[in-house]
């Protein structure tokens, strides 16, 4: 039983770390604001969920667990809204997303 819980929590922690690192790489490597915001918001939500559920499994059921669950709930409520506010203000100040148009297509469109 102990081994199963340990294995589960380590799996959760590893997955959370992977998502965090991939989010960080995404912030640096994506070429456009909206994709970057997308990568950052993955770190905010899913990565936090996995890391904290790994910690919850480690700590067993006590007051710390309840606090951590509260942290997850508050983060899931606030950080998507924060990303939304950021992206919304970027869009309203006139930053256009690239969407699915590649560079060739857009250059063709401007030529024609």
């Amino acid at each position: 039983m102990n081994f199963i819980i340990d294995a589960l929590s380590w799996a959760c922690l590893m997955l959370g770390c992977f998502l965090g690192i991939s989010g960080a790489i995404g912030i640096f490597r994506f070429d456009e604001f909206y994709s970057r915001a997308h990568a950052a918001s993955v770190t905010d939500t899913l990565c936090v969920l996995f890391i904290i559920s790994g910690l919850v499994l480690q700590s067993g059921f006590n007051l710390v667990t309840v606090k951590m669950i509260f942290i997850v709930v508050l983060l899931w409520l606030t950080s998507p809204v924060a990303s939304h506010a950021l992206i919304r203000s970027a869009y309203q100040t006139g930053l256009k997303p690239k969407l699915a148009i590649t560079r060739k297509e857009s250059s063709k469109r401007t030529q024609s």
């Binding site: 409520l77 606030t78 809204v81 939304h84 506010a85 919304r88 203000s89 309203q92």
Partner: protein, 327 residues
């Protein structure tokens, strides 16, 4: 345990240094404000590692929270980019910086070694506070007992400084109420943000009250609680509109409440004078000295919280009512 602490220390301090370099090199004021918020958050983490939870709390609430918002409101008035400097020689500042740095390093040579338990700091007042505080003041959080009881006079000075800052801002800027402004337009509706803010504000206020009245037992107190309370109102202002917030908490009420907080603090001192003790000596407030200390600390913390909250909201109003270049 100490190895992991060392690792965390090294990582946090490295990030602090990089943030500082980024602040110095950046030209965009917006980025600089955001980076200084990050700087405060990192310092708060360092304080947590050092077990100074009260200080970390204050740093996170004041440094990372409210001062970032106030700075953003300020650059909303001034503009986002740093102005080009006139070309001046680079040699003179370099020499000045080197001389100052050398003097500071020379000064640290005379200081006692860091973390040495026989330092003068740890020998005179601190042991007395640690030994006597449970019997003299009797509240579990020793930081609060030092701040509110032993050093009550200093804390009163701090509250008056905050109040004086408010007077300065109001006499320089003033608050423009926009009721008759023809340029005033209805801001665009922001449904998601508004629903979320409505959901969060009760929790923020509840947390502020908890920090306010739980300051005797855990980390927290009037300063932190006041800042957190004002953050709730500032969130309301940002997601709804300035007019809504000014209808909710009118500036003329806030001005009187801010003064009332200082009055409560000073009045507690005067009451203890009248009851035959020293100024701000809470022992005489009740029959039992320990109960008197409890009452005194609760009352003055309430005064501190009231003043800080009202001053923060008023300064924010004063800044944001100057110009709405950015929403």
């Amino acid at each position: 345990m100490s190895a992991i602490n060392l690792l965390i220390d090294i990582v946090l301090l490295t990030m602090l240094v990089f943030t500082t370099i980024a602040i110095v090199r950046s030209r965009s004021l917006f980025a600089i404000v955001m980076l200084s918020g990050i700087y405060s958050l990192l310092s708060a983490n360092i304080f947590v590692v050092l077990d100074a939870v009260d200080v970390a709390f204050t740093e996170a609430a004041v440094g990372a929270g409210i001062s970032t918002v106030l700075m953003l409101a300020t650059i909303g008035i001034t503009g986002y980019e740093q102005k080009k400097r006139r070309s001046i020689s680079r040699i003179t500042p370099l020499i000045v910086v080197f001389i100052t740095g050398a003097v500071l390093v020379y000064g640290t040579l005379d200081m006692p070694a860091f973390t040495n338990p026989s330092n003068p700091v740890h020998e005179h007042v601190a042991p007395r506070f640690i030994e006597q505080s449970p019997t003299e003041v009797g509240i579990p959080n020793m930081v609060t007992s030092v701040l509110a009881s032993y050093r009550g006079y200093d804390t009163m000075g701090e509250v008056i400084v905050v109040f004086a800052a408010l007077i300065g801002v109001l006499s320089l800027l003033g608050i423009r109420e926009k009721k008759t402004d023809p340029v005033y337009t209805e801001p665009p509706p922001r449904p998601i943000l508004q629903v979320m803010a409505k959901f969060m504000i009760p929790f923020i206020i509840l947390f502020a009250l908890y920090v306010q009245f739980h300051g005797d037992f855990g980390p927290g107190g009037g300063f932190q609680a006041g800042v957190i309370f004002s953050v709730a109102i500032i969130l309301y202002t940002l997601t709804f509109s300035q007019q809504d917030a000014m209808d909710l908490v009118p500036p003329w009420v806030l001005k009187r409440l801010a003064a009332l907080g200082v009055l409560i603090y000073g009045g507690t001192g005067v009451v203890s004078l009248l009851k035959g003790g020293n100024f701000l000596d809470y022992n005489v407030l009740a029959h039992d000295p320990i109960h008197g200390q409890h009452y005194g600390i609760l009352i003055i913390e309430f005064g501190v919280g009231l003043t800080v909250a009202c001053v923060m909201i008023l300064i924010f109003f004063a800044f944001i009512s100057r110009g709405d270049k950015n929403p």
